[in-house]
Symmetry: C2
């Protein structure tokens, strides 16, 4: 059984989607071992507890970024996680943390990267006037929203869309591709060439 650690700061909807995928056996031989929040009141903490998942609240306040990340790493190691999934974790990770878990940290971002990095990606997309947006699951490297891309999904941007409409349409896809990307990475049937993550098929 592979073990996943999920980092959250808020409602944790992508954490819930991963938990549902585990429950529905859409992620082969995987379970969420621990959900860590840096915010005690994050809605995702209660949702994890309701699902019987171990939780930890590690407050970042009063610590350096690396001190906080070392506390998270200790908690993740205690639960022997194989993979770390960011799910609305609203803090930058320290270079130390990222180097501790090479190609073992995934993030999901609500745009078709490399377009619209950072906060409010859906609003950025609307403002730019793109006709399609989407979401991206990628390995986390030391640059924001930058690591090698594992999965993407596309949605149309409609004329009457506001930020909420577009965010909701993208979120449906986020919930699908995050579980698919986790399955792929845990299953190990891929190779990385430069920045390209190539799923193993007969032809590879």
């Amino acid at each position: 059984m592979k073990k996943i650690g999920v980092l959250i700061s808020g409602r944790g909807s992508n954490m819930v989607a991963l938990a549902d995928a585990v429950r529905d056996r859409r992620m082969a031989d995987a379970e969420i071992a621990v959900v860590i929040s840096n915010i005690a009141s994050a809605g995702g903490v209660v949702k994890a507890q309701e699902r019987g998942i171990a939780t930890a609240v590690l407050d970042h306040r009063g610590k350096t970024r690396e001190e906080h990340d070392r506390a998270m790493a200790a908690e993740l190691r205690k639960h022997e996680v194989d993979l770390i999934c960011l799910a609305g974790y609203m803090r930058l990770l320290s270079p130390w943390f990222i180097r501790e878990f090479p190609y073992r940290i995934l993030n999901i971002h609500p745009s078709l990267l490399p377009a619209f990095t950072g906060l409010n990606a859906q609003a950025q997309a609307l403002e730019y006037g793109v006709k399609f947006s989407g979401c991206t699951v990628h390995f986390v490297d030391e640059e924001l929203d930058h690591g090698a891309i594992i999965r993407q999904a596309v949605v149309p941007v409609l004329p009457q869309d506001d930020e909420h409409d577009l965010a909701e349409r993208i979120l449906v896809e986020e919930h699908k591709i995050y579980a698919e990307a986790v399955s792929l990475v845990l299953g190990g049937k891929y190779k990385i060439e430069g920045r390209r993550v190539l799923e193993a098929t007969e032809s590879l």
Copy 2:
């Protein structure tokens, strides 16, 4: 009858696609009035002539950018064009030219802008490792590959793709959306809010 001027530097495959759309009456009441190339040997010049379209070769060498653009503008005005379409025109336009034809110059770019501006967009997309790319028709403003987006189309990037495979898959979509975008702009049934180009529908 609305008149289109097309600027090319090479084989002009998007010019041919526009000419085919005119022939097949997929662009209401429009015709290509003139094709202008800055390269005498551009393959698109012969292709335009074969289709009975007026052509002009205006060599840019030995002129400043604006001098060259003024010669093009004179040629375009002689043919009374309503809209200018860049189709593999490999030179930057002068600010003077762009200001002369506000919201009357379209470009097509082989990526989902704002990702992968500039040359070799398909190779950039492959190297970055995106799972989807596509093409974009946009109004030309003074910034490279930047103006308000009229149409986009999406294609998958497949694991075995090389630059040629991806470029060919995108080109099929380019040929479709360029004619659609030209029709929309010539028909005038759209409005622009900030950078968003909104097609007129019942609800607008």
